[in-house]
Symmetry: C2
Subunit: 220 residues, 2 copies
């Protein structure tokens, strides 16, 4: 049975994982009968955003504890993740990727990546295992690997050229499309980088999951 | 174009809406090209549960603000909801239904229902419009209507006979099945009342949505 690690960054697109992307990823993996384990780092969120107003709230929340809402409690600290035990990794999007896993949200191409997250991405690519990266997560993958490999991804339109500034190559793609870096086995789809219909988000994510799974068990 | 109101009770199954049920409901409605508006009451949650440990957290959260995480900010206070403007209502499950919309979680068949929620359910049934009720939400519908109509629903197995104690009639159903009260146009599916695969949850919810939509525009 194929196994996949899904890595969450909180619960809510303004300060954590994009909830719908996370659920649609879990659904596509379950439908494909993949054995899924959900991980998140045991760290404070960068901030807490009132998702109704968009304002910063005077609260402190923990990425692992909030991610557990999406995981229904069945979640493991990211520090325990051994990439050798999984066939594939998935990163749903949301600002958690750009605020908690990195500071892309504030520093753009001058960003720093959380060392644990960076190591996990690097080890996965070194092990020739595929990664599915959704929404803004492809920028995290490109940034994590910038000193080692040039990665081709989509984050939708990328009008500001973020991916190229990070040392990667960007391909424009619609919400229902994926971009595949066959050399490094990175599959990306832009999801809620556009405010598209959830039906289209689901189509893109399902394609991303299926393409990642097609790499599983293929010759390294 | 058919329109539906989706009513959320927070963000996380232990103290609010069951996230996956809410997302899958939104997805099934969007796929059916239904015009959706999301509502939640502007009230304090009964409590905040750490979804990793199951323990009560020393925090205060608001149902409307937390529901906005699932709604991506596009949410309206429940007090504004005019049932005459919609063709159907949907209640995803989660403990928010049994803690915030009612006290079913603590008082069982002796529960009280939030007056606003009760009025909305009652007015919808009086207007001969259909309601989709997911997971524990069918118990809320039965309780809200107990003085007026006996409703037939499923909450899965109901080993303690909650629905019958509330004055309704229970039918056992699997996760992928629905139960239809044709007289009152109440369609129920048990979803995460069982810890089933998300694929099965999605099948049940999609059936529920499709059956509710089949009532829209039918003769009152």
């Amino acid at each position: 049975m194929v196994s996949a690690a899904v890595i969450l960054s909180g619960c809510g697109h303004f300060d954590g994982s994009e909830i719908r992307e996370a659920v649609l990823t879990l659904w596509a993996l379950d439908e494909a009968e993949v054995n899924v384990e959900i991980f998140a780092p045991d760290m404070e969120q960068k901030n807490v955003i009132n998702h109704r107003t968009g304002e910063i709230a005077d609260e402190v929340r923990n990425v692992l504890i909030e991610s557990a809402r999406i995981a229904r409690g069945n979640i493991t600290p990211l520090s325990v993740l051994d990439v050798q035990k999984f066939d594939a990794l998935f990163f749903p999007g949301g600002f958690g990727v750009a605020k908690n896993f990195s500071d892309i949200a504030t520093h753009g191409s001058y960003c720093a990546i959380d060392p644990l997250v960076k190591r996990i991405i690097y080890e996965t690519v070194l092990a020739k295992k595929p990664i599915g990266a959704i929404c803004i997560a492809p920028a995290l993958i490109v940034a994590a690997l910038r000193d080692y490999f040039p990665i081709t991804v989509t984050i939708g339109d990328d009008p500001e050229g973020l991916i190229s500034k990070l040392g990667g190559k960007h391909q424009v793609a619609t919400t229902t499309e994926i971009v595949v870096d066959t050399t490094h086995k990175i599959v990306s789809t832009s999801a809620y980088m556009r405010n598209d219909r959830i039906t289209n988000i689901a189509i893109g994510i399902k394609k991303c999951v299926q393409k990642v799974l097609s790499f599983c068990g293929s010759p390294a």
